[in-house]
Symmetry: C2
Subunit: 219 residues, 2 copies
């Protein structure tokens, strides 16, 4: 509902005139939320960062919550579309997962603040925004699970591991990777981002163990 507050028509009209204040507020909010956290920051911080008056935030958004809702939904929808697209293609499951991992890592590379906000304030906020956007979040898991299910049906993936579970593990591994970057626990930089894309997929698809005969007794 929040995403529809300002009709596309008006947003377009704005572009002709001065800068789009609504967009400036959203962009400022990303920075403020990322640096201070949603709860710790004040609405005035967002207004100041955006260079607009306090009240203007409430002209474009019904509440502080709605600012975050908007940011999340904007980005999450893009991700869901992307996964659906990948899902529909005719490629090996590993490549599909690879594409998803790439997209998420690139999202982080492109706008780390936004991804930090989405993950920290929504996706993992079980008592607040995570609940309100649970349906959206769930969709991502389900789409990934579908990929796994399909791969199992054609024999590429083991049938013994529940698809919904595999989806959680895969997504969890990716998010933890971003968390590592967010917390400064993993090294940043383009080559690390690229390597990370491959590493998650290799870990989850190929496994950590060496494929010794029958993988029964290591060593």
């Amino acid at each position: 509902m929040s995403a529809g507050r300002v009709p596309a028509a008006r947003a377009g009209a704005r572009a002709k005139n001065g800068p789009d204040k609504r967009r400036m507020i959203l962009d400022a909010a990303v920075r403020v939320f990322a640096n201070q956290g949603f709860h710790a920051c004040r609405v005035s911080d967002i207004a100041d960062e955006a260079g607009v008056a306090y009240g203007l935030v409430y002209h474009y958004f019904a509440s502080k919550d709605e600012v975050l809702d908007t940011l999340f939904l904007e980005r999450w929808d893009v991700m869901l579309q992307m996964i659906r697209q990948v899902d529909s293609e005719q490629r090996p499951a590993r490549e599909k997962l690879q594409a998803i991992a790439s997209f998420i890592v690139d999202s982080y590379r492109h706008d780390p603040d936004l991804m930090k906000v989405i993950i920290v304030e929504v996706t993992r906020a079980a008592n607040s925004f995570g609940q309100t956007h649970l349906a959206q979040i769930r969709q991502a898991y389900e789409l990934i699970a579908q990929i796994v299910t399909a791969a199992q049906a054609e024999g590429a993936f083991k049938g013994e591991i529940d698809a919904e579970f595999a989806a959680m593990a895969f997504y969890g591994a990716i998010e933890q990777m971003l968390t590592g970057w967010i917390f400064g626990l993993l090294p940043l930089g383009d080559e690390h981002f690229e390597r990370a894309k491959w590493l998650v997929v290799e870990t989850v698809c190929g496994g950590l163990e060496t494929t010794t005969a029958g993988n029964t007794l290591p060593q």
Copy 2:
């Protein structure tokens, strides 16, 4: 520092008399934090839940923050000790990871509220408690990474996957599993918990893919 506020001696003395109010406050806080979230709840909620006066919370704890700090450190220390123990034993890496997964899942089974609080309010709270306890959290990752490194040295695990990274993926998969239960996205119940223990390890160690060398045909 918070953990040491009440000397063990006095805590023991308390046991002789009435109930340990400090403990009651901590236990109540777990329930309140789990149900409402740290930020959303008031200190009076904790006091009410514990059945004590508001001021008593501040007799035992310097601040609302310190209550959560105490809860986290108490439990996290137990987990670190457990991982160190496992780490020192002479067993295959897969079994070690299995033991860690079991411990965490059992922790959740035993006290879901506490684990929810630790994960949601600390481990994943990049802008608040996650930062203050970063050193503790990091230790867990490093210990797990050590297990992976050792396994790689003896050839049981592939050398191409960075150990620290594998540790993040493994831990991330487990936490995501708990998140699934917390959000009500994965089925609860003893058999599911048991299965989950095996599933994470099988996914991360064995991988999702079927072993191409005609090892198995699922179904």
